[in-house]
Assembly symmetry: C2
Homo-oligomer: 246 residues x 2
Amino acid sequence: MTLETALYLIPVTLGDTPVEQVLPAWNREVIKGIRHFIVENVRSARRFLKKTEPAIDIDALSFVELNQHTDPKDIAGYLLPLEKGEPMGVISEAGCPAVADPGADVVAIAQEKGLKVVPLVGPSSIIMSVMGSGFNGQSFAFNGYLPIEEGARTKRLQLLETRAWNESQTQLFIETPYRNMKLMEQLLRTLRPRTRLCVASDITCEDEKIVTRSVAEWQRRLKGMTDEERQKEIPRVPAIFLIYKG
Amino acid sequence: MTLETALYLIPVTLGDTPVEQVLPAWNREVIKGIRHFIVENVRSARRFLKKTEPAIDIDALSFVELNQHTDPKDIAGYLLPLEKGEPMGVISEAGCPAVADPGADVVAIAQEKGLKVVPLVGPSSIIMSVMGSGFNGQSFAFNGYLPIEEGARTKRLQLLETRAWNESQTQLFIETPYRNMKLMEQLLRTLRPRTRLCVASDITCEDEKIVTRSVAEWQRRLKGMTDEERQKEIPRVPAIFLIYKG
């Protein structure tokens, strides 16, 4: 198969999930047709490619890294093989490239240059948590991380809660795993009792949990628990938090 | 394989795309383990199941419909097989169930009853268009359809544009395919020249196009075109529109 010239956005598994569980067979065919990759981290990209296609000849492939250490001036040059007619791939650390990671910069440049961009299907904790929450999927906003400073964070949370109630817009945000419980405590302190809160953790992985309760119900449930039980309820794993009106 | 008891949210292909291109092999295994389905449309759900698993015995399966004609009082009863311990599946007309379709209601009830919900991976034009646009994927909002009335629509568009600039939040919305060009004309009339506009049409299908330009560039480009050329540029096919600051 000769692959059409384009910038392919190649999702990876979240955690240790088997490739067949979360990626279409087509993605492997695309990978086999690409020699030039733009990746967030070379080591994990190589590991992913080997896992997807054990017969792949990694040494025949070229990799350039795009992450917070990349000089923005270098990014445009990354696309030279594509401009010469060779298909290229973008691979990020987890999930879908160019969503919540630096891949978007190189896609923006490809679009400016009028180059073809082709996203592939893969696991997105954003869309999967919206599906599983039972909240409004006709209007939802992903907000990334909340501000770190306490006052700014509370203010932002109240803004998001207002949008959930007044605009019927589901609001999503994330936190660094080891701070999940701290965020949860703040949510239960700050949000209205009737606001519904969904915690979706370890999406597509063995311990996946997607649980929706009202703020009042979460409060009751966590109140009676030992620290160990609470830790199990809100584990230190990748998680996404969603709120919606009750 | 015995499938774990849960409500599985099963994405379908968008358009005529082959199953292997957009759905993981795992989804087929899940389907083979399910006898009770809640679907938006029985006929297209049967067609999808046959396409995914030609050996399936459709007559051995049970289907209930969940759509705008469903009496809300009936929905809770739909989950009886699940409450008795049988895995169930939700299938919508296109893409991911419970995102921009009625499936969310039955998921909300499952969550209230404390039943396990498991979303599967599949094509989402929302996430794929964010990936391909080059816009901010760390903050984005899907807004469904815009208001139909002209004044309300203009006002909403201006609100979304303000959020794109002031909050750095990518804004997404959709339109009925035959009105795509009319929406496009309004966008070019209403938005600031420097605002960037991405039109993503026929995602995952043969004629997929994901093109980002500034409003000023789109204006220049469409201006010199014949009606036929414009029709080809903004076709009457499922499309999603994204805006972001320039």
